[in-house]
């Protein structure tokens, strides 16, 4: 049995056709997704704002403003990436000269009569993110102005209050108009759903492993199959070893794609890699069973069965939302109208199993999807059982 397992694994690994579809294809598609979705994800990340600052004078207001600029451009959560110049003209020139570069300034700030002013690049030439940065800059300066005014008022009205730590804390504590909360296990990204759908597709393409392995196990499909069938190893053991090798290879290929997605693609699995590997294992089992079931189709050459597998995978992936926003909406509509369509679609189940790890704080939804995948695998194996068990044929 070990011998059959070992050599089945070996010949499968050395089959270029199998490895291209089971390993290389998911990696290539992941790379394409990384290239496509990387800029999208980056847009959601706010980089420090490049701004030109006119060096304030040594007055009390100037020193306070300088301290404010320094405080917002240091540390882990820095907001500003300032460049200091001596005069407003120099600042305007610098902004203009950098306007057409890859990394332009959003404008410049200066302290005029003790009050900060921001001069930003006109919004017509800017994208949405640049507008957002301008709004943030304006908000920062407004808050600075308001607090400076409040402090001045406090000094003139009740200087003794400055000795009260509560007052001082209230004065300088950052104003939190909104509080960021995270209700999901991980930080969701626009592209995450595509990656999960891709994992569903990649898993099902692993069905080619089971298909090829089962084809060469049957005595009526090739001389090789016939030779193996008449061998003295128990057929049940040969089938078990072949299926185990197929599953292991599918699992390994999908695990590599999963790791590549997480490491190179930066897809977050919320630290639940162990649970993800369980999904990968279940997905590989379904894929192996699917390949096995397809191999049971009588009177059809292997190429035809591979064609059917490709068709099934592409069709199933469509409803998992792999092919872009319109198909994702179509998938959502179908899912809402015919929930059963999701239940019988292995690609959707695999994709949603990853989802449930990411977005639920209980194991229930994950267990549900894993259960459905296991039932699917059992049904598919049952379909192929009579074909796999057969050792004698009416014709070869």
């Amino acid at each position: 049995m070990w011998n059959t397992f070992k050599y089945t694994l070996l010949w499968l690994v050395r089959s270029p056709g199998i490895m291209v579809w089971s390993l290389l294809f998911p990696l290539v598609l992941t790379s394409v997704f990384i290239a496509m979705f990387g800029p999208l994800d980056d847009m959601a990340q706010l980089e420090p704002m490049r701004v030109v600052v006119v060096e304030p004078d040594d007055s009390v207001e100037g020193q306070a403003f300088k301290a404010f600029i320094d405080a917002t451009s240091e540390g882990d959560d820095l907001l500003l990436d300032p460049t200091f110049v001596a005069t407003a003209d120099e600042a305007a020139d610098l902004v203009r000269k950098n306007a057409d570069t890859d990394d332009p300034y959003i404008g410049y700030v200066t302290l005029e009569q003790g009050k900060p002013h921001a001069y930003v690049v006109g919004e017509i030439s800017m994208g949405g993110l640049e507008n957002l940065k301008c709004s943030i800059l304006a908000l920062m300066l407004d808050e600075y102005t308001a607090r400076a005014y409040l402090a001045e008022e406090l000094v003139s009205a009740d200087p003794a209050a400055l000795a009260d730590p509560t007052v001082m804390k209230a004065l300088f504590e950052p104003m939190e108009a909104t509080v960021q909360m995270q209700v999901t296990e991980g930080q969701p990204k626009e592209s995450t759903r595509f990656y999960f759908a891709l994992l569903g597709m990649a898993a099902l393409f692993g069905g080619g492993v089971g298909l090829a392995a089962c084809q060469r196990l049957k005595g009526n499909t090739s001389a090789l199959g016939a030779r193996r069938t008449i061998g003295a190893t128990s057929h049940a053991r040969a089938v078990a070893a072949t299926l185990a090798a197929s599953w292991l290879l599918s699992f390994a290929c999908l695990a590599v794609a999963f790791a590549y997605m997480e490491i190179a693609g930066g897809v977050s699995f919320a630290g639940h890699e162990g649970a993800c590997l369980v999904v990968v294992a279940a997905a590989s089992l379904v894929a192996t069973a699917l390949g096995c079931a397809l191999s049971a189709i009588p009177h059809l050459p292997e190429e035809g069965k591979n064609g059917i597998l490709t068709g099934v995978v592409c069709f199933a992936s469509l409803f998992a939302g792999l092919y872009g926003q319109p198909t994702m909406e179509l998938a959502d509509t179908i899912s809402a109208t015919f929930p059963a369509a999701d239940i019988i679609n292995p690609a959707t189940q695999i994709s949603q199993a990853f989802y449930s790890i990411m977005y639920y704080d209980t194991a229930g939804p994950l267990a549900e999807h894993l259960g459905i995948l296991c039932v699917m695998a059992i049904l598919l194996f049952l379909v192929s059982a009579s074909s796999l068990r057969r050792q004698r044929y009416a014709s070869v």
């Binding site: 011998n3 050599y7 010949w11 050395r14 089959s15 005595g219 090789l224 030779r227 190893t233 050792q391």
Partner: protein
């Protein structure tokens, strides 16, 4: 006890009768030749014996026991070299032999020794790390054989093992089969090459349309069919009376003269050449070259199965 005992085997493919009450008995140590035209049922018979094919009627016993698909104990004693090369393209020569040997022998150490013996037996020592697609046709056939006999079977089936093989490889394969037989292996050998069967087989069965047409040793088959030698005599002038006299001999089946050569086909007889020459002498005919060829298995085969072309 016969090693192979097949009785009244009937196998149908739809309405086509592939084996028609086919019988076969093979004694231990025999090299049994199974001959027949294309589609005569040779491979079907072997596949039924190996339990790869279902059959409609009859019984199959190997080593004195009833054969079934799950008789792995019996299968362990059988080696098969199929007609088509059946190996893994992705595995090397050694890996292929090890894999197929592993279907019969689970002990790794024992298997390693068997694999080494098989590699040496077929002369593939220099190619152990090659993959099949890098091997020539002859080497592939030798690998095919090694995969079938590495576990040292007591009964080996060779189904046309020398198809598309060069004369050197063929000679090597035949030597190997003879060596196996000498070691006590019972061999069932099918081929279209009559001279091979004639060379190595101790007993021959000729079958057609799923039935046994003749069975016996090479000599027995020749006697059975009544085919004798073929004689050719170069003569410049042959009176018709002389030709008719030759034709009239008991041992002569036909005598044709084309103006240069007298061609005579004989039946069984002890003194065919001297009888013919005696007649020519009585007509004062001086022969030039005289050439006599004993009957071949090919003649027997064609006599038994007919000369019509097959599919």
């Amino acid at each position: 006890m016969n090693i192979v005992d097949v009785k009244n085997l009937v196998k149908r493919y739809g309405t086509t009768l592939a084996l028609d009450h086919f019988n076969m008995e093979i004694a231990p140590g025999e090299v049994f030749g199974l001959l027949g035209p294309n589609g005569s049922g040779k491979t079907t018979a072997i596949n039924c014996i190996l339990q790869l094919l279902t059959y409609d009627k009859g019984s199959i016993e190997l080593f004195g026991e009833k054969m079934s698909p799950t008789r792995y104990d019996l299968k362990r004693c059988i080696g098969v070299v199929p007609q088509n090369v059946a190996v893994f393209e992705e595995l090397t020569v050694r890996e292929n032999i090890d894999y197929f040997c592993g279907l019969y022998i689970s002990d790794a150490a024992e298997r390693r020794a068997c694999v080494n013996d098989a590699i040496e037996f077929v002369g593939l020592q220099d190619y152990v790390k090659h993959r099949p697609k890098k091997l020539s046709g002859g080497l592939l056939r030798r690998l095919n054989i090694a995969c079938g006999i590495a576990h040292k079977p007591e009964l080996a089936f060779f189904d046309e093992p020398t198809v598309a093989v060069d004369p050197q490889s063929r000679a090597s394969i035949l030597q190997g089969i003879t060596a196996m037989s000498e070691r006590g292996t019972t061999v069932v050998y099918t081929s279209h090459y009559m001279e091979e069967v004639e060379e190595i087989c101790s007993r021959i069965m000729i079958m057609d349309k799923g039935r046994t047409l003749a069975i016996g040793t090479n000599a027995q088959l020749k006697i059975m069919t009544g085919i004798g030698e073929r004689i050719e005599v170069d003569v410049l002038e042959l009176p018709e009376a002389a030709r008719a006299k030759v034709q009239g001999l008991d041992c002569v089946q036909s005598a044709d003269y084309d103006g240069h050569v007298l061609r005579i086909t004989c039946g069984n007889g002890q003194h065919n050449v001297s009888d013919v020459l005696g007649i020519l002498r009585t007509f004062d005919v001086t022969p030039g070259r005289i050439w006599a060829e004993p009957p071949t298995l090919n003649d027997v085969f064609l006599e038994i199965t007919g000369r019509d072309l097959r599919d």
